[in-house]
Symmetry: D2
């Protein structure tokens, strides 16, 4: 894993809004750190849907994208009822794995709340390694956007 998600929203091709649920807060009155993984997943799935590849159809087609690694850097707290913009980008793809970058910003505050990375395997229904689909490999990447 390379942990280097850009802080600039314009480096990401897709953004998905998530509204913080009360049940996701904890006794420190901020969003619990584990809830961010649900936000990443929801946003990744929304991105796939927007690309014309809903994840339930991907699964019905015989492949899954299990999470191999996850890393999150928590910079500023999220709070109940915050509307959070989760920016998503493909970072890189290998033969049978790919990495995605994430940037989380509360909509009413122009600052980074968190950055994150997930690394996924591509496996068939028996759990064997499968090739990263061509449509996924062809996606715009945060690393490329960064260079421009």
């Amino acid at each position: 894993m390379r942990f280097d998600p850009p802080d600039d929203p314009s480096d990401y091709p897709y953004v998905h809004p998530v509204r913080v649920r009360f049940c996701e807060t904890d006794a420190m009155a901020v969003v619990h750190h584990a809830a961010y993984l649900a936000y990443l997943e929801e946003s990744r799935v929304a991105y796939l849907r927007a690309l014309g590849h809903p994840y339930d159809e991907v699964r019905a087609g015989g492949v899954e994208f299990p999470v191999l690694e996850v890393a999150v850097s928590y910079r500023r707290p999220l709070r109940f009822d915050d509307l959070v913009d989760v920016h998503v980008a493909l970072t890189s793809a290998r033969a049978a794995t790919f990495q995605m970058d994430y940037l989380l910003r509360a909509r009413d505050r122009a600052e980074t709340c968190a950055t994150a990375v997930t690394v996924h395997a591509v496996v068939d229904s028996q759990g064997r390694a499968a090739r990263v689909p061509a449509w996924l490999r062809a996606l715009p990447r945060s690393a490329e956007a960064q260079k421009d």
Copy 2:
């Protein structure tokens, strides 16, 4: 508690869509029964926001609506990526408590997936009983709608 939430969406004044997250499914490949409580809460909070009384402002104003009782009847399973219409209505209000009814239907299936009820106290910041706000008491009620 009176458990009698109507099965007819037109008996409810408000509806809020919730998309099922992958993390809310379980090893039976359906939505886990505990996840429904998060859907009820998100939809109740969305209803308050639509009424001009966001729950974070209600809390900042010094009152909270803790859950005293909850009941859910699971009729047909929800699945990953389902778009669920959660219909919400005030059922009744007393001096310091109120009840809400819920009807959950997957958007692509014209049938009841679940019905539910929550009973709430109104308390101040010290946890003492407080009066149900007038704006909440004045809401349209599922029970009344049913009678018409």
Copy 3:
């Protein structure tokens, strides 16, 4: 469903301790109401294991006990790090469904924190109604204990 779980721990044949996790608290600094459903489930599964019928073996044997209905009455809050005694009892069994009662008490406070009921179907691997197993039907019941 009949909601009448006894308040007396001695009316229950089994008790399972659950330690409250920090992630289960919310911004009111108490356990979020949805977390109780996980406590009921963990305690029900522990009871089955203690009876010699671990739920993963029950499932491997071709039947499941999906939740048809759940109801919880929240009486006093639970807090982070509380050790909660979850008392469990079979309430009643019909041909293809059964009901369980629950009493939750924080160990350091001799008072009821919550009571709850779950109603379960018995289904085979195709989701068709199946008979309640004889060993389950033979369990001691909270209602009977109450009468003595």
Copy 4:
């Protein structure tokens, strides 16, 4: 963050057992990747309790250990009802932050299921940086254990 948690249980001074809940599984019939963060937290809190510093007393004493960074490497799936040994160790401590390493192994399988790292700040009740407590700084470290 340095991600290098040892694979050898003997490199860790503390181990805490966690039983997988059914609600923590997902539609792939394995434990959802977000549930691991709850396991890390529960085990970290159990370690503090075993050290004579229960986290609720730490918090009552005016300091908190919010999570700044988390990383998990998922190696082999965990399943419903698995008894998971979560090994915990302090990795390093600076003036106002510290890092912990984790190794997760299902008890009936002598292999690594996951490794993880959390980085924590020490903050006072106003959220200002505070010093890592002396008792925490003095804990045995996984990195040192590794060298022996």
